[in-house]
């Protein structure tokens, strides 16, 4: 019963008129599809851009990162975090949930060595809308340029924690704010963030 008849093509011939129309119509991209709204002073993230976040430990770098992750997962897209080898700090699931991150759309790649770092980030940019990466020492400017290009081509957002050796769309610098005990509870408000980029002058804003 097999191979008794000559093999015939099971692929249906597409309707030529429809194909023709398909070639003529240009895909329409709405401006709102290019950006992801972010609550707070940053207002929006543009797809395909690189954002760098810098700041001393305790100045709010991680909270700022979590707010970006939350903004992207709330649009039902995926996010990933890359933890470089030798970094002690890791994300806390409880803090991520408190910031509004959907944990089922967050993947974390842990213990990435410097040699593999660029490849891992490149692979994530292929499939994930936003990638947050610890910047290990000794990332070559050529690698950085390649990743910037990759992000732009794929429409993915790359958030690097550290100073990126290539051009960035937005540079954020977390400057921290006072922590106080209010009624026995630890609390902070008005943490300063310096925003630079998008053709606007450097401004300092306070985030909650």
């Amino acid at each position: 019963m097999e191979a008794a008849e000559p093999a015939c093509d099971p692929v249906p011939v597409p309707v030529p008129a429809l194909t023709l129309v398909g070639h003529r119509v240009r895909p329409v991209t709405l401006a709102t599809e290019q950006v992801i709204p972010v609550p707070g002073p940053l207002e929006r993230l543009r797809r395909g851009s690189v954002v760098s976040i810098e700041g001393a430990p305790g100045s709010g770098v991680t909270s700022l990162t979590l707010s970006l992750l939350a903004a992207v997962t709330s649009t039902r897209e995926w996010v990933a975090a890359v933890e470089a080898e030798g970094s002690h700090g890791t994300l806390s699931a409880a803090a991520a949930v408190e910031a509004g991150v959907a944990l089922d759309r967050l993947a974390v790649v842990r213990g990435v060595s410097t040699q593999r770092w660029a490849n891992v980030v490149a692979a994530l940019l292929e499939g994930v809308t936003l990638t947050v990466a610890d910047l290990p020492l000794g990332v070559k400017p050529a690698d950085a340029r390649r990743l910037t290009t990759r992000a732009r081509e794929r429409g993915a957002i790359l958030v690097v924690l550290g100073s990126w050796p290539d051009r960035v769309a937005v540079r954020l610098r977390a400057e921290g704010g006072p922590w106080r005990f209010v009624g026995g509870r630890l609390a902070t408000w008005s943490r300063a963030v310096e925003i630079e980029g998008r053709g606007r002058p450097v401004r300092r804003v306070a985030v909650a």
Partner: protein
């Protein structure tokens, strides 16, 4: 279509016994993905251990059992020997999974005389030590079910097949990836395949879509798809060359994975999906290795993963066999043997969730291939007092434990599949530090110096009291400053019932030098557990 099915019961256990990794006698429990029992040996089953049990339940029923993790690659390697032995009987066998294969009997009956002869030859080819069961019936599902009843050979004609199938419970559809659908049927009061087959097909399809159509065909004793009478055109095959020749399975697997991805995405563009794929390899010396695998559908991502896994098993089996190829592989080809119209998958109503998930899944699986399964993880929120205890990590793709992992009422939360993973009930953890949670967790915790006004390290008495308030916190690279504010202590008596594992510690929230952190004091030694970053 008359089908012969060879089933080796408890194949994972048999494999481990053949390899000498577990004793040849006595109960053995093989753990699979997600910490659940995958297979239990006959002795363990006699004690009440069942598939899907958690490890501790299995050990409670059968404390003397040897518990070991499953090794799918070794199972596939060992099953390759069985497949090779059966090549003397048929050239058209398709492996479903290690331990189970089937082939149509039509040509073999004409050659060997009768179905009894074919079944006997198949049984002899595998050999009695492996205790194979051979079933012959109309249709693949029936043949499998008959093989499970066989001692060791059972043949049912078409009328008997229909009666036999009608009496089977709908849960057997699990074998074809319709487990959830079978659960729905049971809730609707359709308990046997006969009940399902008695419904008009049109109504079942109208109500349940493609799952219903598949289940109805299976219940009537047909194969999932009408038999494909023409071979797919050769241009659908995907081939990759190795230069230099691949000697190690690892090198070949990378190529195999990308071929699987290309093959399925090409088929998807034509609106097709593959149900049987032949893996072909050629070696430097011109040897040709061929094996056919059958695999179930699911979403495009799942199918790709299933195919990539089978290709990996097969390459591993070939390249590590004692009498395997004498030289490296030069060519690997994936040929779709049977293509069926892709039934598609319903996307979520809101937004492009399905597509985004599929894209992300593909990228993450590729990374797991590069870095190892456990290197790509997803965070899981679970119960605990410290941030490190509250954050669990599950390898991507494993079944995630229930979102609120509870020790006290864990049984209730896991046993009810409807509340699993969405239970909102958060049990209280006495002594847990209140929100906000610190965003950055140090794992392992950073050593620190935490002293009171007299310069002595901060100590907590058994009653949770301390003589003097903390005055200064020092932690290399983070802070060295007088304490500006603090809260606590939150004393923890961890595992007070276990003398060896008992630990006593106290947590403090400390603000010093402009940073806020969570400090743990244990046996006079302070560590910074986490940072409010």
């Amino acid at each position: 279509m008359r089908t012969l099915c060879v089933w080796c019961p408890d194949w994972p256990v048999t494999t481990l016994r053949l390899a000498g990794r577990v004793p040849a006698e006595g109960p053995v429990v093989v753990m699979g993905e997600g910490g659940q029992v995958h297979t239990a040996s006959a002795e363990a089953r006699a004690e009440g251990v069942r598939r899907g049990f958690r490890k501790r339940d299995a050990q409670a029923r059968c404390p003397q059992a040897v518990v070991i993790d499953a090794d799918p690659a070794a199972e596939a390697r060992a099953f390759e020997e069985v497949a090779r032995a059966l090549e003397a009987v048929t050239a058209r066998l398709a492996i479903h999974r290690p331990g189970l294969l089937s082939f149509p009997t039509l040509g073999q009956v004409r050659y060997f005389g009768s179905e009894i002869d074919v079944a006997q030859r198949a049984w002899e080819a595998v050999g009695s030590p492996l205790d194979p069961r051979v079933g012959v019936a109309g249709g693949g599902l029936a043949a499998f079910l008959v093989a499970r009843r066989a001692t060791p050979v059972l043949i049912l004609d078409d009328d008997e097949t229909a009666r036999f199938l009608a009496s089977r419970p709908v849960t057997v559809l699990h074998e074809h990836g319709l487990g959830e659908f079978a659960g729905l049927l049971r809730r609707l009061g359709l308990r046997t395949l006969g009940d399902l087959a008695a419904l008009p097909e049109g109504s079942v399809v109208a109500r349940f879509g493609s799952d219903g159509a598949r289940a109805h065909r299976l219940a009537r004793g047909l194969d999932e798809d009408p038999p494909a009478l023409t071979a797919p055109p050769p241009e659908l095959a995907e081939a990759g060359e190795f230069d230099p020749p691949a000697l190690q399975a690892e090198e070949a697997v990378l190529v195999g994975r990308s071929l699987a991805e290309r093959l399925l995405s090409r088929l998807a563009r034509h609106g097709l999906a593959a149900s049987r794929v032949t893996v072909e390899a050629e070696t430097e010396y011109g040897e040709r290795l061929v094996r056919t695998w059958r695999f179930g559908g699911g979403t495009a991502g799942e199918a790709e993963r299933a195919l990539a896994q089978r290709v990996r098993w097969q390459l591993d089996a070939w390249l590590s066999a004692v009498d395997g190829p004498r030289s490296g592989l030069t060519l690997l080809r994936l040929v779709p043997e049977e293509v069926v119209p892709a039934r598609g998958h319903q996307l979520d109503f809101w937004g492009a969730d399905g597509r985004a998930t599929e894209r992300a899944t593909r990228a993450l699986i590729r990374l797991q291939g590069l870095l190892g399964h456990a290197a790509v993880v997803q965070p899981v929120l679970r119960g605990g007092r410290t941030p490190a205890e509250q954050t669990g990590w599950a390898p991507f793709g494993d079944h995630l434990p229930p979102r609120s992992w509870v020790l006290c009422n864990g049984d209730r939360a896991t046993k009810n599949p409807r509340t699993r993973g969405q239970s909102q009930e958060q049990p209280s953890w006495p002594g847990a530090v209140p929100a906000p949670s610190p965003a950055l967790v140090y794992d392992p915790a950073l050593p620190a110096t935490f002293v009171d006004a007299s310069g002595e390290p901060v100590r907590i008495s058994g009653r949770g009291e301390m003589p003097l308030p903390p005055a200064r916190l020092r932690c290399a690279g983070l802070v060295d400053a007088p304490v500006e504010g603090w809260a606590g202590p939150w004393p923890h008596d961890v595992r007070f019932w276990d003398r060896q594992a008992r630990r006593r510690r106290a947590l403090f929230q400390v603000v010093a030098g402009g940073v806020a952190c969570l400090v743990s004091v244990e046996a006079g030694q302070a560590t910074v557990e986490a940072l409010y970053d």
